[in-house]
Amino acid sequence: MYVAVKGGEKAIRNAHRLMATKRRGDRSVPGLTLDQIAGQLAIAVTRVMGEGSLYDEGLAALAIKQARGDLIEAVFLLRAYRTTLPRFGYSEPVDTGAMLVERRISATFKDLPGGQLLGPTFDYTHRLLDFKLAADGELDTPLTAEVTETAMPRVTDLLSGEGLIEEDVQPEETAAVGDLTREPLSFPAGRDLRLQNLARGDEGFLLALAYSTQRGYGRTHPFAGEIRYGAVEVEFFAEELGFAVPLGRINVTECQMVNQFKGSAKVPPQFTRGYGLVFGQVERKAMSMAMVDRSLRCEELGEERTAPAQDEEFVMSHSDNVQATGFVEHLKLPHYVDFQAELDLVRRMRGEWFDRQAADQAAASDAIGSGATDTSEKEAAE
């Protein structure tokens, strides 16, 4: 039950003012600029863009600053902002095969055309704190090398043809594409809705689910077929112009998981796939997304559904951190009336409990006083 409570306006105003001061921190230290956040905390910014489901570095940087680095709060701010803007329409699907690649690795094929490009990565670092960075010292400029191959075919395209790996299902051109921002979620959900949900899902939640499949809760035997990161062109079909207009480029991470599959009555043994695509360089999320996408395809592939990561209702209903934080954090808000009612209820139940105890005790002492009927009943029961 919800009951309106009034009051506390002054306290709220003052609390927000205090929060603004705390957010600014020590005023003798220069304030953070949005360019600094966007440029130097780039992965936090892309995480907020991905989970906020809105690609705009400036807005994400502002949200992070406003939220004092609380990324879920920043995601919330971005989601709220996007509701103020009109929707112009849907882009043409981006072509990740034509990506300006900054990183591209495969854990399954050593010698793939275009090569293994490590790009900017934390992989192979020793995870030792770098105190030189704290001093903001001189920085080496990156090295360059001659570019010998520019074509970067997707790993999954290389294997197709032999039938060893499942191919993408070609869509009917007119098939409608589900959109969570327009239609309330209902089940069963198609893979289009699942991927949209995962793409904006919480990184930590997806990571934990993906990990659970590795530990045996719905095993999928995944290999990282390919992970690539870089810029793709976004195009929008403008009706008044009659052609697809290039809008500019966005950075995305794509992950192709390749999973061993024993086959079923209808399908011979082959590798199946899970797909991850996220805004920015958020590799852990792209990998987790691909693993969970594969797990959620259990029904389609005739696998038994036994684990949380295979349960689309469980996954999709709990992946959104804005929804989750809203429901969890609302418990902080006044529940005085609810609690008062509960208090009365518990008092009454306790009263009844004690009354019953007292009555039982009285009955027991009566029984003792009146002789050993108790024992004879017991013996009779045996």
């Binding site: 009109p86 981006v94 997707r154 805004f279």
Partner: protein
């Protein structure tokens, strides 16, 4: 309500390619860089706003598995504008981001470019420099990335 099918892709008709190239060059420039590129054409031509610069959202789509059926990935901010010059030519822009100035400038360049007397000057003064700067930036990314390419060598096993 039901969702409309995605609009059909641009026809294979290539007559729009030069204009698409122009729009790509404008979209990839920063607002300040575009303003500077437009300087040789000052003062800006008189124009009427058919659609004043307006910021909105475009839902970006990806494809399942990279080449399969489309799905919705997330939105981008986009600003668009349509201007009409005194000669009746309309210029359009759709650019990522929230810069109204950039959208206006891009629409004006598109309108100027459609005037046959100015096409070459716009290509030379604005589009060619922006395109070559973008190409140079891409080349740097490729060269820096190439330096991180893994050269495998096989460990030869001992014979005995």
């Amino acid at each position: 309500m039901p969702h409309q099918a995605p609009p059909p892709s641009a026809s294979p008709d290539t007559s729009n390619e030069p204009r698409r190239r122009l729009m790509a060059a404008l979209a990839n420039a920063t607002p300040d860089r575009l303003a500077a590129a437009l300087a040789p054409f000052a003062p800006l031509p008189a124009h009427e706003m058919v659609r004043a610069p307006e910021t909105g959202l475009v839902m970006v789509r990806g494809r399942m598995g990279g080449t399969g059926a489309p799905f919705n990935l997330g939105e981008v901010t986009v600003t668009r504008c349509v201007v009409r010059l005194e000669n009746g030519v309309a210029g359009s822009s759709y650019v990522m981001g929230r810069s109204k100035q950039k959208a206006l400038h891009a629409a004006l360049v598109d309108a100027l470019w459609q005037n046959p007397a100015l096409t070459e000057a716009v290509e030379r003064e604005i589009i060619a420099p922006l395109a070559s700067e973008a190409e140079a930036a891409d080349a740097t990314v490729r060269a820096e990335t190439a330096a991180t390419k893994v050269d495998f060598f096989t460990m030869v096993r001992g014979d005995d």
